[in-house]
């Protein structure tokens, strides 16, 4: 009966290093979202996967950000050459389908770039 699980919960990394954030969605959910939550910026949309369709990457802030979803389940968000402005809480959510259904959120990964 697990919900959306994200790992790690906290990540401190040095500027310039690459990081990978993992999301395990609820089994059977076809839609998966990544958001960035920072003070004063609300929930910033990053990327959206829906079934086997090509992902909507329109929210990725730069080419240092990428994400993949393997086998329609687990997703990894990768940030290359991290910068201090990447520090934020990264949230993953999944939903049963693409429209109108409840999105269930993970607890987030707090990324700190020093």
């Amino acid at each position: 009966g697990a919900g959306v699980s994200q790992s790690p919960s906290n990540k401190v990394t040095e500027k310039g290093k690459d990081v990978e954030l993992r999301c395990d969605p609820i089994s059977g959910h076809t839609a998966l979202y990544w958001y960035r939550q920072s003070l004063g910026q609300g929930l910033e949309f990053l990327i959206y996967f829906q079934g086997n369709s090509a992902p909507d990457k329109s929210g990725l802030p730069s080419d240092r950000f990428s994400a993949e979803r393997t086998g329609g389940s687990v997703s990894t968000l990768t940030i290359q050459r991290t910068q201090q402005e990447d520090s934020a809480v990264y949230l993953c959510a999944s939903s049963l389908d693409s429209r109108g259904t409840e999105a269930f959120f993970g607890q987030g990964t707090r990324l700190t770039v020093v």
């Binding site: 609300g42 949309f45 829906q50 369709s53 949230l91 959510a93 429209r99 269930f104 959120f105 607890q107």
Partner: protein, 109 residues
Amino acid sequence: AQRVTQPEKLLSVFKGAPVELKCNYSYSGSPELFWYVQYSRQRLQLLLRHISRESIKGFTADLNKGETSFHLKKPFAQEEDSAMYYCALSGPVRGKLIFGQGTELSVKP
């Protein structure tokens, strides 16, 4: 383009007072609108959605297509309502879920 605007970053009211959290949206079509809430140290969770036309924890929200608004209302605020509230929109094409900037509601005793 899809956009959700919550003009108030912080709303502070006294217990028992009415509360209205504003949400305006832009979308050329028929969107689905939602309110999500995040209590302190808890996950973001769905509060209500416009298609259900339900009242959850005393909160209601009416979709006004003419004013493109989906304001969240409660007649008598409680201290336990203190939280961060996010308005969200999902469009009919592929259902991308977009959130507003959020409004922090603080209910004082």
